[in-house]
């Protein structure tokens, strides 16, 4: 097996880690968002009188849950563009 130079190895490892992080973060967030939406819709069907309030709240709640995925994205962006350890491999 030929020897990779350290910078190329660093790039490969970073790319793989970023892929894993973004997939994991998105899957977990989407599953939980799905649960929230199911609960909201069930209760809207059960009590149509409060459907307006629920539909207003669910937008805000989903945006807040989605920030978990955004944090994963931010970590990925830091790893890709502003990695503090990148200078060690130059």
């Amino acid at each position: 097996m030929s020897q990779l130079d350290p910078q190329a190895l660093f790039m490969v490892v970073t790319t793989i880690v970023v892929g894993v992080v973004i997939v994991g973060g998105c899957i977990a967030t989407t599953l939980m968002e799905g649960r929230a939406v199911v609960a909201a819709f069930e209760n809207m069907a059960r009590q149509p009188s409060v459907a307006d309030r629920i539909s207003g709240l669910i937008f805000v709640t989903l945006a807040i849950i989605e920030s978990a995925a955004i944090y994963a994205l931010l970590i990925c962006l830091i790893l890709l563009f502003a990695n503090p350890f990148a200078s060690l491999f130059r």
Partner: protein, 229 residues
């Protein structure tokens, strides 16, 4: 890939102070919004014009938000929320104009916005309840919970910053990458998605601010006014 174009860069440095392009875009928004707000507030009639309907729709929305969360009138709260909402919505949507980008894609802009929100929470809390009662409410129900409350106040401010920043920069980067891959039609769905998330994030930022302020000015007073009204 040219993704680096998305990140803010220094445009010019008068007197050695670096000015980033996000600041210039903020100036553009100010130059548009301030005269617009001045014109919108004049010539209100009993029989509203089309333009007045639009202004009333927006202000009624924010009044409803305050009524739902706080339950009573607080001086200055409406103005703060309307300004936050207008500025963030316009700033997030600025990226769809060719040649301009959303100023909220810089972490500095969103930090400034959430510091305003954080200080507003302290200001309204102290003004409505008094310094002593407000500080004591941070230590309720137990004294040992005080550090946790302070930590919570700081961490939710940081969370607001990162949420707005992450959403906007994700939309900008997706648009840029799709533009580089296939400039014709491919960025269009992502631009449409960024329209929704831009307005939604402005709404989320405003609602979180009003929830925190409602928390700071106290729930006891809120119940009393509900029973009265």
């Amino acid at each position: 890939m040219g993704v680096e174009e998305v990140f803010p860069h220094v445009v010019f440095r008068p007197f050695g102070i670096p000015i980033q392009d996000t600041v210039v875009q903020t100036w553009i928004i100010m130059a548009v919004l301030i005269p617009l707000a001045y014109v919108a507030g004049r010539n209100f009639q009993i029989r509203p014009s089309r333009w007045q309907h639009l202004v009333e729709l927006g202000s009624e929305f924010i009044s409803k938000l305050i009524k739902l969360q706080v339950g009573r009138h607080i001086d200055g709260l409406f103005e703060l929320l309307a300004t936050l909402m207008l500025y963030i919505a316009v700033a997030n949507l600025l990226g769809i104009i060719p040649g301009l980008r959303a100023p909220t894609r810089s972490l500095n802009t969103t930090i400034a916005l959430s510091i305003v929100s954080f200080l507003a929470v302290q200001y309204f809390g102290i003004r409505e309840r008094g310094l002593w009662r407000y500080s004591r409410s941070l230590a309720e129900p137990l004294g040992c919970i005080l550090p946790l409350n302070i930590l919570g106040q700081i961490s939710r401010t940081v969370a607001m910053t990162l949420r707005l920043f992450g959403n906007v920069i994700a939309a900008e980067i997706m648009g840029q990458v799709m533009f580089k891959l296939m400039p014709l039609l491919a960025p269009l769905p992502f631009t449409l998605l960024s329209l929704i998330t831009g307005v939604l994030q402005a709404l989320v930022f405003t609602s979180l601010t009003v929830v925190f302020i409602a928390d700071a000015v106290g729930r006891m007073e809120r119940k009393e006014t509900e029973e009265k009204g």
